[in-house]
């Protein structure tokens, strides 16, 4: 195998840039992980280097870390060997829509996505409150000295939230999200980093996501709580009529009692409703997963999925290491 050996980049930034180029076309979540590991390692190892021989020492450290291509290959290899965050779904009978429709009841991902839809209200309230508090306090305090530290703290918390929400999305929905936090990727003091954070569109897209999460959470929570209540209510309607007979419509002296065939039809509808709810959870989960990825992962191009599919289904069947 002829191996091209490009010049070793001499700074951490140029090395990370080459690594980024080497990974172009990969899943952006994977890219963030690779860059984050590389930056952590190189910064840890280059701590305390003396200024005069810094360049040579850094070149040596980087060469020991590995050529960008070697590193990119190693990650790609393990990316596909890694077991999915959730167990693989039971193999579905292909070409049978009926079995596919009812098979959702045994799919752990549907329940995980359902839980995510409900839990979105909790995270939504928290993200929204924190975003409003953070933005308002940052603006309000910007006139006095404490404003800047608070603003920096808020920006750091935004990055942490992007990471935590990403972990939640990957665990519950299966969308491949970064497993390492997004790095500042800039050398220098806290102020240079802060400036970089402010100029980084990722910071702002995360803050917008935090705002958006509340309406999304309210909507998804309402839809799924209502769908669940309606399905269970309909399913158990005939049983309820036996235990606690009650007219379907009770307006003044007018009462409408659902006849038994109607009750059974309602029960059947409720039964189907449970499956429809689970399917909706999967679909909703996929949409929210895509949204989270687009807004929380820097430079997430949709085309990346073609090369390194992020859907857990595509990883189904690969062997662990």
């Amino acid at each position: 195998m002829p191996e091209s050996r490009p010049d070793t980049p001499v700074t951490i930034e140029t090395y990370l840039q080459k690594l980024r180029e080497e990974l172009s076309g990969s899943d952006p979540a994977l890219m963030q992980d690779v860059l984050s590991d590389a930056e952590d390692h190189l910064r840890a190892e280059s701590e305390g280097l003396l200024e005069e021989d810094r360049e040579a020492a850094l070149a040596e450290i980087i060469s020991r870390y590995g050529l960008p291509r070697e590193i990119a290959d190693a990650y790609r290899e393990y990316e596909h060997a890694r077991p999915a965050a959730l167990p693989a779904p039971p193999p579905r009978p292909a070409g049978n829509p009926l079995q596919r429709f009812f098979g959702v009841i045994a799919d752990p991902r549907a329940y995980a996505a359902y839980f995510y839809m409900l839990f979105s209200l909790v995270t939504g309230v928290f993200f929204f409150t924190w975003a409003v508090t953070g933005v308002a306090l940052s603006l309000g305090l910007s006139l006095i000295i404490i404003g800047l530290p608070f603003f920096l703290f808020f920006l750091a918390s935004v990055r942490a939230i992007a990471y935590v929400e990403g972990r939640l999305v990957e665990a519950l929905i299966g969308e491949r999200m970064p497993r390492r936090p997004h790095q500042a990727r800039i050398e220098g003091g806290i102020f240079r980093r802060a400036l970089h954070w402010v100029a980084d569109p990722h910071t702002w897209s995360t803050i917008v996501y935090m705002f958006l999460k509340l309406p999304i959470g309210v909507l998804s929570f309402s839809i799924f709580i209502n769908a669940t209540a309606l399905s269970i209510g309909l399913l158990l309607y005939p049983l309820m009529q036996l235990v606690y007979p009650h007219p379907f419509i009770n307006a003044g002296s007018y009462q409408y009692w659902v006849p038994l065939p109607g009750q059974l039809a309602m029960s059947l509808l409720g039964f189907l409703g449970i499956f429809i709810t689970l399917h909706l959870a999967r679909i909703g989960g996929t949409i929210l997963g895509r949204l989270a990825k687009a807004m929380l992962v820097p430079g997430a191009p949709v085309a990346a999925r073609k090369i390194y599919p992020s859907s857990p289904r595509s990883r189904h069947g690969v062997n662990p290491i």
């Binding site: 390692h41 040596e60 590995g66």
Partner: protein, 133 residues
């Protein structure tokens, strides 16, 4: 540019792309075992850079191991529950992820060791070219 494997040995073979390729393939086949064994012997949790250093100390050249290729393996072992990890802030620089072997990791390591011994003996026997032991 200092390339891996040819800094200290002075062995021209180490610079040969085909030799490097074999080394790379052997490394990728044994990384999981080596990392699990190293962490199995460690008294305390280790982070990536320490692990890379630990490997280098064991051999003259760290078998040409590129530090950057350790991380995906560590993460994969972590994801499979063979290692556990936690992030701790460091005094200077970015926070570090410290890895510890889990009970499951030790169990798997104990089951992997005979496989390795068998493979090593097999390769040695073939290379020696003598009659079966």
């Amino acid at each position: 540019m200092p390339a891996s494997g040819d800094q200290s040995s002075g062995d021209s073979a180490a610079g040969d792309p085909r030799v490097r390729k074999l080394q790379k393939e052997l490394n990728s086949g044994t990384f999981s075992l080596v990392l699990l064994a190293l962490l199995g012997q460690a008294d305390e949790p280790m982070y990536g850079y320490q692990i890379a250093k630990g490997l280098e100390e064991k051999t003259e050249e760290g078998a040409g191991i590129k530090h950057g290729t350790l991380y995906p393996v560590l993460r994969a072992l972590d994801a499979q529950g063979l290692l556990s990890s936690e992030v701790e802030p460091s005094v200077s620089g970015p926070p570090r992820r410290y890895y510890t072997i889990t009970e499951e990791g030790r169990r798997i390591l104990a089951r992997w060791l005979p496989v390795w011994t068998r493979t090593r003996d097999f390769v040695d026997a073939i290379l020696a070219g003598g009659p079966h032991a």
